[in-house]
């Protein structure tokens, strides 16, 4: 672990300016992932700029019936919020399926979105990793592949994004508000994270110095029933092998509205737009669900060590949709 300076800014704009000026600075919020990475010397910032007290830790109503979540809202508070539990149950379920109670008390909404992959080679400085050391090679490509991506990966990187919350936010069409030196902008959660391509060192589209200040949830409309299901190697405190956030609205036996996002399968929360398109207006049957899941996974490029994720993702999607269909009856 390298020595570092710890600083607190007076407000968001000075924090953003300070970070933009310091080549080796990082924002610190909950620190549940960043501090681990610093211990491992995966992250070696010279300055930590603590932003936790600068950004909102409140959940507020929006005029359109949506919610605005301050980026400093702890995961546990967000999961327990009555409005979230009633209007966006899949978000609460996703949060509660992640990490542990202790970590959720400390981890923030913004930090959850920006956590790094848990790829074991990324986290081990003695092995090559293009994400950590661009150009050094991808150790996972021919290594331990169980937790790696099956969709949207590249020869440079097969890592997955670890967040559960982000998968639910992607399904809910949430957007993040971001403050940079040029002011504020709004980015849909589905566009926040990148696919690795040739530059896996960049997890998101955020420019250097940009700070997530909040997450906006659109009004829930009629998107009920919904749920988040996480499949993993033990019942708690493990990252998803595959997770599914889904909402399904059926009228007269026909799919009127459907949202599906997958976790554990890609470098980003994976919105299953192909499956959604296939299902819009289709009969709400197991056969439709299987066909839609198959269509989504037709582009999958699994590795030998994670080929099981393709049938697992298919089965989990179908199982969740069938449960939602049953629930809506």
């Amino acid at each position: 672990m390298k020595p570092f300076r710890y600083e607190r800014a007076d407000d968001v704009s000075s924090a953003v300016t300070a970070l933009a000026e310091e080549p080796e600075a990082a924002f610190l919020a909950g620190g549940t992932n960043l501090v681990d990475l610093m211990r491992l010397e995966v992250a070696t910032p010279e300055v930590l700029i603590d932003v936790r007290r600068l950004i909102s830790d409140r959940i507020e109503e929006l005029p359109d019936g949506g919610l605005r979540i301050g980026a400093a809202v702890p995961n546990s508070d967000l999961a327990a919020d009555d409005r979230v539990r009633r209007r966006y149950p899949m978000l609460s379920q996703a949060l509660l399926s992640g990490a542990s109670g202790q970590l959720r008390n400390v981890a923030t909404t913004g930090g959850n979105l920006l956590q790094r992959t848990r790829c074991p080679y990324f986290q081990n400085v003695t092995t090559p990793c293009n994400k950590r050391a661009p150009g050094s090679g991808c150790s996972a490509l021919e290594g331990h592949q169980r937790d790696m991506a099956i969709l949207g990966s590249s020869p440079a990187c097969v890592a997955t994004h670890p967040s559960d919350m982000a998968v639910a936010l992607a399904a809910l069409d949430a957007a993040v508000t971001v403050r940079g030196t040029d002011g504020e902008r709004r980015i849909p959660v589905t566009a926040l994270h990148r696919l690795p391509g040739d530059t896996p060192e960049r997890d998101t589209v955020l420019a250097r110095g940009e700070l997530i200040t909040g997450v906006e949830l659109p009004p829930p409309a009629h998107l009920i029933p919904s749920r988040y299901r996480k499949v993993r190697d033990r019942a708690s405190f493990a990252f998803a092998l595959v997770s599914v956030a889904a909402a399904l609205d059926v009228a007269d036996g026909t799919v009127r509205e459907v949202r599906i996002a997958l976790g554990g399968v890609a470098h980003k929360p994976w919105r299953a737009t192909t499956a959604e398109s296939a299902l819009h207006g289709a009969p709400a049957t197991g056969e439709s669900f299987r066909d839609a899941a198959a269509a989504e996974l037709a582009r999958a490029t699994p590795l030998p060590g994670n080929a099981f994720k393709v049938p697992l993702a298919r089965n989990t999607m179908v199982s969740v949709l069938l449960e939602l269909l049953e629930e809506g009856r």
């Binding site: 672990m1 390298k2 020595p3 010397e41 848990r118 074991p120 080679y121 081990n124 003695t126 092995t127 150790s139 021919e142 290594g143 331990h144 169980r146 499949v231 190697d233 033990r234 019942a235 708690s236 405190f237 493990a238 990252f239 092998l241 099981f308 049938p311 697992l312 089965n315 989990t316 179908v318 199982s319």
Partner: protein, 709 residues
């Protein structure tokens, strides 16, 4: 031999842990927490190649860091006396024997400074092509020899057993029987992972060494550390009253304590050293992976005619550790023709060690899975199939068992588990999307005593008895149970007994391992109590003199050890649910019925057995150290990635026992209870998974991908 069985007062009562209040209030002092003045901190350096030589060392940048006192490498480390255990020879050569081996240490005023400077040390290497992959078809598998680690037992395997056994003509019987099974089972590399990491706080004072160390055997550590440092044992004091779990990894090795001692000698200051979780995956041992071929033959009545169990297992080129994987097969079931073999693949990997029922843990997964498969092949109920093949004496040595109540465990366990209502057809029961199944397996673990223990008892005229023995309490309740044994042996209430353990200033004790602790230390305490009674009567007319009285006794010989086979037994029943769509497995219920002789303390024994069963579940479903063949390191070397059963995974776990005393094992009538709970759980779960799904998983762990439809 004194007989305390006639006067049960404390033994058999569910006495609360003596150290319980300290543990739950956080006041129990663990090794790293001992206050030591002017201490400095050590952070280790580890090799980043799996095999080869160090060709250059650059410590200049690290040594220039503020607060750094020294950087030890093989170039400047003090010479050690050549140890029997090559793992203890830290920093003695430029050879690298595995990835993650100690290559040096930074010693600094603060842990932060030591850790930061460690990142500045540069090693150059001349790597050799390394070889870390276990396969059963390797042409260099070799028969283990002289791998015994405990006591003076000769033998090939770590428990002192011979590598091979042969009775009758197994091959002919296997070829000709009407019902046959030939199946291969594998178990992966597992890491012990006690909650408390391995730590040493070391100080030199006038040529004498004090080591606060988290160890399963302070006397054994004293011997090892003194030997490698070239000191007489009485110049080394090891203090370890509280141990936050060991699971075998704190018997061997103590390379970290040797490294800390070298550093303390070099900088002439006390040194504190605690391994990180990641470092533990390369430095303190693990359960070696195994490939086990089992062949069974039976007649038309379900009687076994032949058993063969052939084992290939990992070991390190640096030290030829060998688990006794197939030794359980020598004693479990009767059959006229039988063969067991063990072969090792010496690899460029870290040194394995004993872990959570070493040998039996892996072996009984294979044997008891095979017995389930064979029961089905014979068209028999798996409980009845085992009972039909129950031996009257040890099937290979011919010795009678000191006690063996396996059949009673199977019958009573089956009754409690509701086994008679079980439909034997696989994949026949459902609850919504969950497939339901149940399975059974037998358990066994040796019940030995290890040599090397003595106990001292000091009594004062007010009736206070101080009992001194350097035993270890790994969180299992030893402190409490030894108090109960001493109270009954002395014929006094527990309030008049004060037991002191975990310090080599006390009389020596054998290690807490091999499920031998209570048998060995309790026997020694009973002998000391008997001697106290004799001395009081013969020299003092039965009255404690004003200045008090002290006696010491060694563990007495037990001639029955040569006349009887001494083992604990059990029967484990598992109920599982398997998600039809995802293959996720949940263990809804575990029920174990055990034969562990006389129970000293039902509260602590129940905890040990339930803990063991939970470890067995964890072995069955979750744990798995992933070795990357390209680098030679364990990829998933932290608790985020190495999955141990979490609370949410553990549902109903019940441990019961038959109320039988063993007439031969020791003065208490007890048998080993520390590890038998682990054994058989994995097979019971695998058998239940088969019953639920129709899928036979022969390769642990049983992960969902192996069950995906």
């Amino acid at each position: 031999m004194s007989d305390v069985r006639a006067r049960p007062h404390a033994i058999g009562s569910p006495m609360d842990r003596i150290d319980g209040a300290q543990k739950v209030t956080g006041t129990a002092t663990y090794a790293y927490e001992w206050p030591v003045e002017h201490a400095v901190h050590l952070y280790p350096l580890q090799s980043t190649i799996a095999a080869g030589r160090i060709t250059s060392v650059d410590t200049a940048e690290a040594e220039a860091e503020p607060g750094v006192l020294t950087v030890l490498t093989h170039l400047n480390a003090p010479s050690l006396t050549r140890p029997d255990d090559p793992e203890l020879a830290v920093l003695q050569t430029d050879e690298v024997a595995w990835r993650g081996q100690f290559t040096g240490a930074v010693v600094a005023e603060t842990l932060e400074a030591a850790r930061a400077a460690a990142g500045l040390v540069r090693f150059g290497y001349a790597p050799r092509e390394h070889d870390v992959v276990l396969r059963a078809d390797r042409d260099d598998l070799r028969k283990p020899e002289h791998a015994a680690q405990f006591g003076s037992a000769p033998g090939d395997l770590q428990d002192g057993s011979p590598a091979d056994s042969l009775l009758g003509d197994a091959d002919a019987a296997l070829d000709s029987a009407p019902v046959r099974l030939d199946a291969t089972y594998t178990t992966p590399m597992y890491h012990n992972n006690p909650m408390e990491p391995h730590t040493a706080v070391v100080s030199w004072d006038d040529g004498a060494l004090t080591v606060y160390c988290s160890t399963q055997g302070s006397s054994f550590s004293q011997m090892l550390i003194a030997g490698v440092l070239g000191l007489p044992p009485d110049r080394v004091r090891v203090i370890s009253p509280h141990v936050g779990g060991g699971f075998g990894s704190k018997v061997y090795p103590h390379s970290y304590a040797v490294l800390a001692a070298m550093a303390a000698r070099t900088v002439r200051r006390p040194v504190k050293f605690a391994l990180t979780r990641q470092q533990m995956f390369a430095l303190v041992g693990y359960r070696p992976a195994s490939i086990q071929r089992i062949r069974l033959a039976a007649d038309g009545d379900g009687r076994l005619t032949a058993i063969a169990h052939e084992v290939a297992e990992q070991t390190a080129k640096a030290k030829g550790y060998a688990d006794q994987v197939a030794v359980c097969t020598r004693l479990m079931y009767t059959a006229p023709h039988r063969r067991t073999t063990h072969r090792l693949a010496p690899l460029d990997i870290p040194v394995p060690t004993i872990m959570r029922a070493p040998g039996e843990g892996q072996g009984m997964f294979a044997l008891e899975s095979a017995m389930d498969e064979m029961a089905l092949a014979c068209g028999m109920d798996p409980v009845e199939f085992r009972i039909r093949n129950e031996p009257e004496v040890h099937p290979e040595s011919g010795l009678p068992f000191s006690s063996r109540h396996l059949v009673a465990c199977l019958r009573e366990g089956a009754r409690r588990a509701g086994w008679e209502r079980r439909d034997p057809a696989p994949r026949a029961r459902r609850d919504g999307r969950w497939l339901l199944g149940s399975g059974v397996a037998a358990s066994t673990y040796p019940s030995p005593r290890l040599p090397g223990s003595s106990a001292t008892i000091r009594v004062t005229p007010d009736g206070h008895h101080r009992v001194l023995i350097a035993a270890a309490d790994l969180g299992t309740g030893t402190w409490t149970t030894l108090t109960q044994i001493a109270a009954d042996a002395l014929g006094v209430p527990v309030e008049q007994v004060e037991v002191r353990i975990g310090d080599t200033a006390l009389p020596p004790a054998s290690v807490a391992g091999f499920s031998s602790g209570i048998s060995s230390w309790g026997s020694s305490i009973c002998a000391a109590a008997e001697r106290l009674r004799q001395v009081l009567e013969s020299d003092h007319g039965g009255t404690v003199p004003a200045q008090g009285l002290e006696v010491t006794a060694d563990m007495p010989a037990n001639p029955d050890e040569d006349r009887y086979a001494m083992h604990s037994f059990g029967a484990q029943f598992a109920e599982v649910r398997v998600d039809r769509d995802t293959g996720e497995v949940r263990v809804a219920r575990l029920l174990g019925m055990f034969d562990v002789g006389r129970v000293i303390n039902p509260k602590t024994v129940r905890s040990q057995l339930m803990g063991g069963m939970t470890q067995g579940m964890s072995m069955a479903l979750y744990e798995h150290s992933v070795l990357d063949p390209r680098f030679g390191h364990v990829v998933n070397h932290d608790f985020g990635q190495y999955h141990i059963a979490a609370n949410a995974d553990v549902h109903a776990v019940e441990a019961h026992w038959v109320h039988e005393r063993d007439p031969h094992t020791n003065a208490m009538g007890s048998k080993g209870a520390g590890e038998v709970g682990i054994v058989g759980t994995a097979a019971a779960i695998a058998n239940a998974v088969y019953h639920a799904t129709g899928v036979r998983v022969r390769d642990l762990p049983i992960t969902l991908d192996k069950l995906l439809p």
